[in-house]
Amino acid sequence: MTNGMVLAIIGAALAALLAGIGSAKGVGLVGEAAAGVVSVDPSKFSKVLILQLLPGTQGLYGLLTAIILLSRIGVIGGNAVDLSTSQGWAFLVAALPIAIVGLISGMVQGKTAAAGVGITAKKPEHNGKGIIMAAMVETYAILALLISILMIYNIEV
């Protein structure tokens, strides 16, 4: 296996790993807040569940990026490409936007969504506002995903 291949695989691993950690922390935090509300009022379960799902998307974006990257370099499909070191670096760097933004936005979205759980707890009729506010954070994860994918597709192999 070439050094380039190792670097590209590290990139794929980081995308899945960091974005996944961000999501796990975010979803876990909202889950804690949601459990607090449900322990007092179980009827609010469905409303807080939507908020809990929101920070989970970063992990999916990381997974998607990793799969695309691995298929581009032929690890998925069985035709592994001989990558030069510079190509390997290019793939690694291409994976970084979703890896880093996924980590941070997952945690931040978790905090925003947990605050949204507070809105649902107090004023269930304004649940949608909490969802919208938490969803705004998603924008930046989507932008990072877009950039990562564009870069991965445009690296010459």
């Binding site: 922390k25 935090l29 804690e32 807040a33 949601a34 459990a35 607090g36 509300v37 322990s39 007092v40 009022d41 609010k44 945690m107 978790g110 905090k111 947990a114 605050a115 759980v117 507070g118 707890a121 107090k122």
Partner: protein, 316 residues
């Protein structure tokens, strides 16, 4: 600060937000004041309560403990009950009476064994925050048989311990809470001592002193008479409170409670941390206090205006 620390007690805060609807609102109080009979007031309260049990501070504390059993900040809220219970237990030990009916709850003390501990002088069995004070107060009371002096020692120690322990937590909310509690207690004590002509030794024991109210200056002003005391208080951040105290001690008490509620309100918008939990406890405590004031006022035949004037600021 780490993510975990920043987002501490997320479940408790969310649960508290869900429970806020059970707190008395200004509208509820208005309706209770307007209720023409006790039965009507009780029916309003029952309607507010719904199928839930009556709000008590013990149930609020137990609710908070479900989410934050290890929270040192919250425990500070019970110091005043603990020190009050110490006073009750000490007097009971000396007089041989049963202290149970004078105890306040919730408390951090094991009330069933408190009198026994004091009788056996087994002070290490007491929680740390009350240990030294219990020993000193017992010694003072048995030596002088002056209940007022022992009470003053305990009250002053309650405030000093609260201030020190709040500082130790490093939590700004609790530090401010402790400072407000200290200021209210010290101003009240200094005023009473000034009116009653107490001497320096008594004031030294009874006044705790704090950041904004320097102990020596407060004592010296109180010893020079109430006018000097008010002149000194005018130079502190508590000039507004002092002006109210000059007019009426009842207005001053209300100012103190409202200042603590203002602090509680500052934590209402937070989604994490111990502050909203503490604020909820303070809110429940104030709601119950309003109910007590309302009941006493009605029983004494106070008019609507007087009752409204005495109602404390509410959280929701």
């Amino acid at each position: 600060m780490s993510f975990k620390k920043e987002t501490k007690y997320a479940d408790g805060v969310a649960a508290v937000k869900a429970m806020e609807s059970t707190l008395l609102t200004a509208g509820d109080i208005e309706q209770l004041i307007s209720a023409s009979t006790k039965a009507e007031a009780e029916s309003l309260l029952n309607a507010k309560r719904g199928s839930g049990e009556a709000l008590s501070l013990e149930s609020v504390w137990s609710f908070l403990q479900d989410y934050a059993p290890d929270c040192a900040e919250l425990k500070l809220l019970l110091y005043k009950n603990d020190f009050h219970n110490l006073k009750a237990a000490l007097k009971a030990v000396i007089s041989g009476k049963e202290p149970e009916r004078y105890y306040l709850r919730p408390t951090l003390l094991e009330l069933d064994t408190l009198s026994g501990i004091l009788l056996k002088k087994d002070y290490p069995a007491l929680p740390e925050h009350i240990r030294d004070t219990a020993e000193r107060a017992y010694e003072l009371l048995t030596r002088t048989m002056d209940g007022q002096l022992a009470d003053s020692l305990i009250d002053s120690a309650a405030v000093s311990t609260l201030l020190n322990d709040a500082e130790r937590t490093g939590n700004d909310f609790m530090i401010k809470y402790a400072e407000l509690t200290e200021a209210a207690a010290d101003i009240k004590t200094a005023y009473r001592c000034s009116v009653m002509g107490k001497n320096t030794a008594f004031l030294e024991l009874a006044v705790a002193g704090g950041k904004d109210l320097e102990k020596d200056q407060l004592i010296s002003a109180a010893l020079s008479g109430t006018e000097s005391l008010f002149e000194y208080l005018d130079t502190t951040p508590y000039s507004e409170a002092a002006a109210l105290l000059k007019r009426s001690p009842v207005a001053f008490e209300k100012w103190c409670d409202d200042a603590v509620m203002e602090l509680a309100e500052s934590a209402r918008l937070l989604s994490f941390g111990s502050e909203p939990l503490a604020a909820y406890y303070i809110a429940a405590e104030t709601g119950l206090k309003n109910l007590r004031i309302l009941t006493v006022c009605r029983e004494s035949g106070a008019d609507r205006e007087t009752i409204t004037e005495r109602m404390r600021r509410l959280y929701v």
